[in-house]
């Protein structure tokens, strides 16, 4: 029994079919519970008022925007090294989700920034690097859709993902150098004294869990769709050939 068995599309679909209802139910449960708890049953912050509550959308989506790219990086590496098609398709499936998470993070940040910083947008390092991350997602998806041959597209996009990761990381630290931040520093670290208060922290944890489950469920679902789409294309091609 090894993890590589799931590289078999049939096995992958069978297993994820069994997992999907649980994952989706878990995601819905966590999100509803976490958001309702966060929005209605936590006190207002004494300086930020009720605007603090956007944290329950902003932080999890920003977290997933980065983790989605990490997952694509791992999947691309697996594709390059072991050439499992499911892995390439999973990377492809994750990209639009990651891009959406990036947009959610940017939009919620802007909505919060308007009353708090007095501006929708500032060229702050974190904001800027997220915008750049979004551009990377766009380029990645555009390259996937521009190439007809599936294997070539998978090869090219995985190399783009590797190179893009290096440059995204470079940009992340380059923008630090380029402009001073308006964004607050890390306040969720496990190893620091000064963190967000527990009243906000627990519902936030639930929301993060919900976003993670949501992401996994969506990736499974989209990967299944990709596999089935490719299978139906193969069937059509075979029929035409006969």
């Amino acid at each position: 029994m090894s993890i590589w068995e799931y590289a078999n599309p049939v096995k992958f679909i069978r297993t994820t079919d069994r997992l999907l209802p649980w994952l989706s139910a878990g995601a819905v449960l966590c999100l509803v519970f976490g958001l309702v708890w966060g929005f209605f049953f936590t006190p207002d912050d004494f300086r930020q008022g009720s605007t603090v509550k956007i944290i329950y959308l902003h932080v999890p989506s920003a977290l997933m925007a980065i983790n989605a790219w990490l997952m694509m990086l791992v999947a691309s590496l697996i594709w390059i090294v072991r050439r499992h098609h499911v892995s390439a398709l999973a990377a492809r499936a994750a990209a639009p989700i990651g891009a959406t998470m990036t947009i959610i993070a940017l939009a919620t940040g802007a909505i919060w920034g308007q009353p708090m910083w007095g501006t929708w947008w500032a060229w702050d390092p974190r904001l800027t690097s997220f915008l750049i991350l979004f551009l990377f997602y766009l380029g990645y998806m555009a390259l996937w859709s521009a190439i007809d041959d599936d294997d070539t597209a998978a090869d090219l996009t995985s190399i783009l993902c590797l190179v893009g990761s290096v440059f995204a990381l470079l940009s992340r630290y380059a923008v630090n150098f380029w402009n001073q931040g308006l964004h607050q520093g890390a306040s969720l670290s496990l190893d620091k004294e000064e963190n967000v208060a527990d009243v906000f922290w627990y519902p936030l944890l639930v929301c993060i869990g919900g976003f993670v489950l949501l992401f996994i469920a969506l990736v499974f679902l989209r990967t299944q769709t990709e596999i089935r789409a490719r299978r139906s294309r193969a069937l059509l091609a075979r029929e035409r050939a006969v």
């Binding site: 070539t152 440059f167 380059a174 150098f177």
Partner: protein, 218 residues
């Protein structure tokens, strides 16, 4: 390798090679900027280093699809791929040829265009140095983008989408060197970072470009 370099240089200098187009584009962009932002000397001299960098970057981008497109069309890229030269070498030579025909003229033209933008006295040296250090990185990164999109029709727009985000770190540090130089501040830190990015890209990216090109020629 030298023969390939000479061939690429000759092809780009002779008719239809597009040599000088990038330079003309650079000139036009810098001339257009004062029309856009107004002719005040103070404002212009403040933004001059950044404008020169953006102009050079765009001029570089404009000529990228020439790196492989013509060779791809007439099949000489396939010949090169079967030649005893390793693909990494071919890619590096192509990037070098692109830099000599596009990057180097931009570096040399930058001070002249700096006059048009009333670049401060101390800025000339640092604009030239930062561009001389940074444009090789632009060429190498661009070669990667060109290799990615070589087989595609209408690949130009896609290539800009792929390449421009990769240009961000180079642009940040390059423009920072030029800006600090123009303001008379210390330039060492961004200069070292720019050199690091440039040499790092030169060392690593040819392998990625060669891998991508091999996939595209499959």
């Amino acid at each position: 390798m030298i023969a390939l370099l000479l061939r690429d240089l000759r092809l780009s200098v002779r008719a239809g090679g597009g040599f000088g187009l990038g330079l003309a584009f650079f000139l036009i962009v810098t001339v257009l900027v004062p029309f856009g932002v107004g002719p005040e000397t103070g404002l212009l001299s403040k933004i001059a280093p950044g404008v020169l960098w953006i102009g050079a970057l765009l001029a570089c981008l404009l000529s990228l699809d020439r790196i492989f497109a013509l060779d791809w069309e007439d099949g000489s890229l396939d010949l090169l791929a079967t030649a005893p030269l390793p693909m990494e070498g071919i890619v590096s030579i192509k990037a070098l040829a692109h830099w000599i025909t596009t990057g180097l003229p931009l570096v040399l033209a930058a001070p002249v265009l700096g006059v048009l933008l009333s670049l401060p006295e101390g800025g000339y040296l640092w604009v030239v140095i930062s561009l001389a250090l940074g444009t090789p990185a632009l060429s190498v990164i661009g070669t990667f983008g060109a290799a990615l999109t070589v087989g595609l029709k209408r690949g130009g727009l896609l290539m800009s989408l792929l390449v421009l985000p990769l240009y961000v770190p180079t642009l940040i540090f390059g423009a920072e060197v030029a800006r600090r130089g123009a303001d008379g501040l210390a330039v060492e830190t961004p200069l070292l970072m720019l050199a690091g990015i440039s040499f790092g890209a030169m060392a690593i990216l040819p392998f990625a470009s060669a891998a991508v090109l091999r996939i595209n020629l499959r």
